[in-house]
Protein backbone atom coordinates (compact mmCIF):
# COMPACT_ATOMS: atom_id res chain seq x y z
CA UNK A 1 0.00 0.00 0.00
CA UNK A 2 1.28 3.44 -0.85
CA UNK A 3 -0.99 6.04 0.74
CA UNK A 4 1.79 8.65 0.71
CA UNK A 5 0.36 10.83 -1.98
CA UNK A 6 -3.32 10.22 -1.30
CA UNK A 7 -3.63 11.42 2.30
CA UNK A 8 -5.43 14.71 2.79
CA UNK A 9 -5.92 16.83 5.89
CA UNK A 10 -9.27 15.99 7.43
CA UNK A 11 -9.31 12.51 5.91
CA UNK A 12 -10.80 9.93 8.25
CA UNK A 13 -9.56 6.36 8.65
CA UNK A 14 -12.03 4.08 10.40
CA UNK A 15 -11.40 0.70 12.01
CA UNK A 16 -13.22 -1.90 9.97
CA UNK A 17 -14.38 -3.97 12.92
CA UNK A 18 -15.55 -2.80 16.33
CA UNK A 19 -13.96 -4.32 19.41
CA UNK A 20 -16.42 -5.99 21.76
CA UNK A 21 -15.10 -5.94 25.32
CA UNK A 22 -16.67 -9.24 26.26
CA UNK A 23 -15.87 -11.00 29.50
CA UNK A 24 -13.79 -13.49 27.51
CA UNK A 25 -11.93 -10.74 25.65
CA UNK A 26 -11.04 -9.00 28.93
CA UNK A 27 -10.01 -12.26 30.61
CA UNK A 28 -7.74 -13.18 27.71
CA UNK A 29 -6.17 -9.73 27.67
CA UNK A 30 -5.69 -9.88 31.43
CA UNK A 31 -3.52 -12.92 30.82
CA UNK A 32 -1.51 -11.66 27.85
CA UNK A 33 -1.08 -8.10 29.16
CA UNK A 34 -0.01 -9.12 32.65
CA UNK A 35 -2.74 -6.96 34.21
CA UNK A 36 -5.08 -9.37 35.96
CA UNK A 37 -6.41 -6.85 38.50
CA UNK A 38 -9.56 -8.15 40.13
CA UNK A 39 -11.56 -5.08 39.00
CA UNK A 40 -11.15 -6.35 35.41
CA UNK A 41 -12.30 -9.87 36.15
CA UNK A 42 -15.02 -9.73 38.74
CA UNK A 43 -18.17 -7.56 38.74
CA UNK A 44 -18.58 -7.76 42.50
CA UNK A 45 -14.99 -6.74 43.14
CA UNK A 46 -15.46 -3.81 40.76
CA UNK A 47 -18.61 -2.79 42.65
CA UNK A 48 -16.67 -2.96 45.91
CA UNK A 49 -14.40 -0.31 44.42
CA UNK A 50 -17.39 1.82 43.45
CA UNK A 51 -17.64 0.92 39.77
CA UNK A 52 -20.93 -0.27 38.22
CA UNK A 53 -19.35 -3.45 36.83
CA UNK A 54 -16.06 -4.98 35.76
CA UNK A 55 -13.70 -2.51 34.06
CA UNK A 56 -12.11 -3.22 30.71
CA UNK A 57 -8.44 -2.40 30.28
CA UNK A 58 -7.89 1.06 28.82
CA UNK A 59 -5.07 -0.42 26.78
CA UNK A 60 -7.51 -2.62 24.85
CA UNK A 61 -8.93 0.54 23.28
CA UNK A 62 -5.39 1.66 22.50
CA UNK A 63 -4.68 -1.62 20.70
CA UNK A 64 -7.71 -0.96 18.51
CA UNK A 65 -6.24 2.41 17.52
CA UNK A 66 -2.84 0.80 16.98
CA UNK A 67 -4.35 -1.80 14.71
CA UNK A 68 -6.10 0.91 12.70
CA UNK A 69 -2.72 2.55 12.10
CA UNK A 70 -0.70 -0.59 11.39
CA UNK A 71 -3.39 -1.95 9.07
CA UNK A 72 -2.96 1.21 6.98
CA UNK A 73 0.79 1.85 7.27
CA UNK A 74 3.83 -0.40 7.66
CA UNK A 75 4.57 -0.55 11.38
CA UNK A 76 8.17 0.65 11.05
CA UNK A 77 6.75 4.00 9.85
CA UNK A 78 4.92 4.58 13.14
CA UNK A 79 6.96 7.14 15.09
CA UNK A 80 4.72 8.32 17.92
CA UNK A 81 1.54 6.90 19.35
CA UNK A 82 -0.36 8.28 22.36
CA UNK A 83 -3.66 7.62 24.06
CA UNK A 84 -5.45 9.43 26.85
CA UNK A 85 -7.98 7.31 28.71
CA UNK A 86 -10.66 9.91 29.33
CA UNK A 87 -13.54 7.65 30.35
CA UNK A 88 -13.70 4.18 31.80
CA UNK A 89 -14.73 1.24 29.65
CA UNK A 90 -16.71 -1.67 31.03
CA UNK A 91 -17.39 -5.29 30.25
CA UNK A 92 -19.75 -5.62 27.24
CA UNK A 93 -18.92 -2.17 25.88
CA UNK A 94 -18.30 -2.05 22.13
CA UNK A 95 -15.58 0.30 20.91
CA UNK A 96 -15.10 1.86 17.52
CA UNK A 97 -12.08 3.83 16.53
CA UNK A 98 -11.11 6.46 14.02
CA UNK A 99 -8.05 8.42 13.02
CA UNK A 100 -8.20 11.83 11.37
CA UNK A 101 -5.32 13.36 9.42
CA UNK A 102 -4.50 16.62 11.21
CA UNK A 103 -1.25 17.54 9.52
CA UNK A 104 1.10 16.67 6.67
CA UNK A 105 4.70 17.77 6.85
CA UNK A 106 7.71 17.65 4.58
CA UNK A 107 10.98 17.75 6.45
CA UNK A 108 14.60 16.75 5.89
CA UNK A 109 13.96 13.34 7.39
CA UNK A 110 11.01 12.77 5.04
CA UNK A 111 7.28 13.29 4.77
CA UNK A 112 5.07 12.53 7.74
CA UNK A 113 1.42 12.62 8.71
CA UNK A 114 -0.06 13.55 12.08
CA UNK A 115 -3.30 11.98 13.24
CA UNK A 116 -5.78 12.56 16.00
CA UNK A 117 -7.30 9.37 17.35
CA UNK A 118 -10.47 8.58 19.21
CA UNK A 119 -12.33 5.56 20.48
CA UNK A 120 -16.09 5.74 20.97
CA UNK A 121 -18.32 3.39 22.92
CA UNK A 122 -21.75 2.02 21.94
CA UNK A 123 -23.44 5.13 23.40
CA UNK A 124 -21.40 7.46 21.23
CA UNK A 125 -19.27 8.62 24.16
CA UNK A 126 -15.61 9.30 23.51
CA UNK A 127 -13.65 7.08 25.90
CA UNK A 128 -10.17 7.62 24.51
CA UNK A 129 -8.41 10.36 22.57
CA UNK A 130 -4.95 10.22 21.16
CA UNK A 131 -2.43 11.21 18.56
CA UNK A 132 0.01 9.53 16.22
CA UNK A 133 2.83 10.50 13.92
CA UNK A 134 3.52 8.30 10.89
CA UNK A 135 6.47 8.65 8.53
CA UNK A 136 5.27 8.40 4.95
CA UNK A 137 8.40 8.28 2.83
CA UNK A 138 11.38 7.38 4.97
CA UNK A 139 14.68 7.91 3.19
CA UNK A 140 15.86 4.37 3.92
CA UNK A 141 12.82 2.89 2.16
CA UNK A 142 13.76 4.73 -1.00
CA UNK A 143 17.29 3.42 -0.76
CA UNK A 144 15.96 -0.12 -0.73
CA UNK A 145 13.95 0.51 -3.86
CA UNK A 146 16.79 2.31 -5.67
CA UNK A 147 20.00 0.77 -4.35
Amino acid sequence: MNPTTELKIGQVLTAEHPLRLSKERIAEFAETSGDASIVHLDDQAARDFGFPKALAHGLLGMTLAGRLLTDHFPQHQLRQFSSRFIAMTFVDDVLRCEAVVTGLRDADEGRSAAFSLKAINQNGEIVMTGAALVALAPANDQQEIFP
Partner: protein, 164 residues
Protein backbone atom coordinates in the same frame (compact mmCIF):
# COMPACT_ATOMS: atom_id res chain seq x y z
CA UNK B 1 -14.09 3.79 45.59
CA UNK B 2 -10.47 4.41 44.84
CA UNK B 3 -8.97 5.24 48.18
CA UNK B 4 -6.63 8.03 49.12
CA UNK B 5 -3.11 6.80 49.75
CA UNK B 6 -2.06 6.72 53.42
CA UNK B 7 1.04 8.70 52.59
CA UNK B 8 2.25 12.10 53.58
CA UNK B 9 2.07 13.98 50.31
CA UNK B 10 4.06 17.06 49.50
CA UNK B 11 7.08 18.47 47.75
CA UNK B 12 9.51 16.48 49.92
CA UNK B 13 8.00 13.21 48.70
CA UNK B 14 7.75 14.41 45.11
CA UNK B 15 11.39 15.49 45.08
CA UNK B 16 12.39 12.01 46.30
CA UNK B 17 10.26 10.41 43.59
CA UNK B 18 11.49 12.52 40.66
CA UNK B 19 14.33 10.92 38.76
CA UNK B 20 14.11 7.72 40.79
CA UNK B 21 15.42 4.84 38.70
CA UNK B 22 14.67 1.15 39.05
CA UNK B 23 16.83 -1.87 38.43
CA UNK B 24 16.84 -2.61 34.72
CA UNK B 25 15.74 -5.97 33.37
CA UNK B 26 16.49 -7.93 30.21
CA UNK B 27 13.89 -9.81 28.29
CA UNK B 28 13.48 -11.67 24.99
CA UNK B 29 10.37 -11.03 22.89
CA UNK B 30 8.94 -14.50 22.30
CA UNK B 31 7.05 -15.37 19.11
CA UNK B 32 4.26 -17.22 20.89
CA UNK B 33 3.77 -14.33 23.34
CA UNK B 34 3.57 -11.80 20.52
CA UNK B 35 0.94 -13.90 18.71
CA UNK B 36 -1.08 -14.59 21.86
CA UNK B 37 -1.09 -10.90 22.71
CA UNK B 38 -2.24 -10.03 19.18
CA UNK B 39 -5.01 -12.65 19.32
CA UNK B 40 -6.23 -11.26 22.65
CA UNK B 41 -6.62 -7.83 21.05
CA UNK B 42 -8.17 -9.16 17.81
CA UNK B 43 -5.29 -7.90 15.71
CA UNK B 44 -5.14 -10.49 12.93
CA UNK B 45 -2.41 -8.89 10.81
CA UNK B 46 -0.42 -11.88 9.43
CA UNK B 47 2.89 -10.24 10.43
CA UNK B 48 1.93 -11.03 14.06
CA UNK B 49 1.58 -14.78 13.42
CA UNK B 50 3.46 -15.88 10.32
CA UNK B 51 7.26 -15.44 10.10
CA UNK B 52 7.10 -15.70 6.30
CA UNK B 53 4.52 -12.93 6.08
CA UNK B 54 6.66 -10.80 8.40
CA UNK B 55 9.80 -11.41 6.33
CA UNK B 56 7.91 -10.65 3.11
CA UNK B 57 6.98 -7.31 4.69
CA UNK B 58 10.65 -6.62 5.42
CA UNK B 59 10.92 -7.66 9.08
CA UNK B 60 13.30 -10.17 10.65
CA UNK B 61 10.51 -12.17 12.29
CA UNK B 62 6.92 -11.73 13.51
CA UNK B 63 6.22 -8.19 14.68
CA UNK B 64 4.84 -7.14 18.07
CA UNK B 65 2.26 -4.40 18.53
CA UNK B 66 3.68 -1.29 20.23
CA UNK B 67 1.64 -1.96 23.40
CA UNK B 68 3.15 -5.46 23.68
CA UNK B 69 6.18 -3.93 25.44
CA UNK B 70 3.96 -2.96 28.36
CA UNK B 71 3.03 -6.60 28.91
CA UNK B 72 6.71 -7.49 29.23
CA UNK B 73 7.04 -4.92 32.00
CA UNK B 74 3.75 -5.80 33.68
CA UNK B 75 4.61 -9.49 33.85
CA UNK B 76 7.75 -8.54 35.80
CA UNK B 77 5.79 -6.34 38.17
CA UNK B 78 7.31 -3.19 36.73
CA UNK B 79 4.04 -1.40 36.02
CA UNK B 80 3.13 -0.94 39.66
CA UNK B 81 6.72 -0.89 40.88
CA UNK B 82 7.28 2.80 40.32
CA UNK B 83 4.56 3.83 42.71
CA UNK B 84 4.67 0.81 44.98
CA UNK B 85 8.11 1.83 46.22
CA UNK B 86 6.51 4.96 47.67
CA UNK B 87 3.53 3.27 49.29
CA UNK B 88 0.99 3.69 46.50
CA UNK B 89 -0.91 0.59 45.44
CA UNK B 90 -2.88 -0.04 42.24
CA UNK B 91 -6.14 0.76 44.03
CA UNK B 92 -4.91 4.33 44.50
CA UNK B 93 -4.17 4.95 40.85
CA UNK B 94 -5.88 5.54 37.54
CA UNK B 95 -4.23 5.03 34.17
CA UNK B 96 -4.41 8.44 32.58
CA UNK B 97 -2.32 8.34 29.46
CA UNK B 98 0.11 6.17 27.53
CA UNK B 99 2.69 7.48 25.07
CA UNK B 100 5.08 5.67 22.77
CA UNK B 101 8.11 6.90 20.91
CA UNK B 102 8.76 4.10 18.42
CA UNK B 103 12.32 3.90 17.07
CA UNK B 104 11.82 0.52 15.42
CA UNK B 105 9.34 -2.35 15.73
CA UNK B 106 10.01 -5.22 18.12
CA UNK B 107 10.32 -8.61 16.43
CA UNK B 108 10.33 -12.13 17.83
CA UNK B 109 13.75 -13.04 19.18
CA UNK B 110 14.68 -9.46 19.99
CA UNK B 111 16.67 -9.14 23.18
CA UNK B 112 15.68 -5.97 25.03
CA UNK B 113 16.81 -4.07 28.08
CA UNK B 114 14.25 -1.98 29.95
CA UNK B 115 15.27 0.90 32.18
CA UNK B 116 12.50 2.56 34.16
CA UNK B 117 12.47 5.89 35.93
CA UNK B 118 10.02 8.38 37.35
CA UNK B 119 10.12 11.33 34.98
CA UNK B 120 7.75 13.78 36.67
CA UNK B 121 5.53 14.17 39.71
CA UNK B 122 3.09 17.05 40.00
CA UNK B 123 -0.17 18.04 41.59
CA UNK B 124 -2.93 19.22 39.29
CA UNK B 125 -6.57 20.30 39.47
CA UNK B 126 -6.09 22.47 42.58
CA UNK B 127 -4.20 19.75 44.37
CA UNK B 128 -6.90 17.10 44.03
CA UNK B 129 -4.94 14.96 41.60
CA UNK B 130 -1.36 13.71 41.75
CA UNK B 131 0.15 13.00 38.34
CA UNK B 132 3.10 10.60 38.23
CA UNK B 133 4.80 10.08 34.87
CA UNK B 134 7.09 7.08 34.52
CA UNK B 135 9.25 6.29 31.53
CA UNK B 136 10.69 3.04 30.29
CA UNK B 137 13.53 3.14 27.80
CA UNK B 138 13.80 -0.07 25.78
CA UNK B 139 17.09 -0.72 24.00
CA UNK B 140 18.84 -3.52 22.14
CA UNK B 141 22.09 -5.25 23.23
CA UNK B 142 24.12 -2.71 21.22
CA UNK B 143 22.50 0.06 23.25
CA UNK B 144 20.40 1.40 20.37
CA UNK B 145 17.00 2.65 21.55
CA UNK B 146 14.00 0.61 20.40
CA UNK B 147 11.17 2.46 22.13
CA UNK B 148 10.39 4.89 24.90
CA UNK B 149 7.12 4.25 26.73
CA UNK B 150 5.69 6.91 29.01
CA UNK B 151 2.91 6.14 31.47
CA UNK B 152 0.85 8.84 33.17
CA UNK B 153 -0.66 7.56 36.40
CA UNK B 154 -3.20 9.66 38.27
CA UNK B 155 -3.76 9.41 42.00
CA UNK B 156 -7.06 11.02 43.03
CA UNK B 157 -6.69 12.75 46.39
CA UNK B 158 -10.19 12.23 47.75
CA UNK B 159 -9.53 13.80 51.11
CA UNK B 160 -8.62 17.07 49.42
CA UNK B 161 -11.65 16.83 47.14
CA UNK B 162 -13.87 16.71 50.19
CA UNK B 163 -12.01 19.56 51.85
CA UNK B 164 -12.28 21.72 48.73
Amino acid sequence: MISSPPIELGEKLYAAMRGKTYESFDVIAMAEDISAYARSTEDFNPIRYDPEAARAAGYADIVAQPTYLLSLAAKRGHSSLALGAFGFTPDHTLYGQQDFECYRPVCAGDRLKCEQRIAEVMEKKNGTRLFVITEMLWSDPEGAPVALTRQTLIVPLRDREKAA
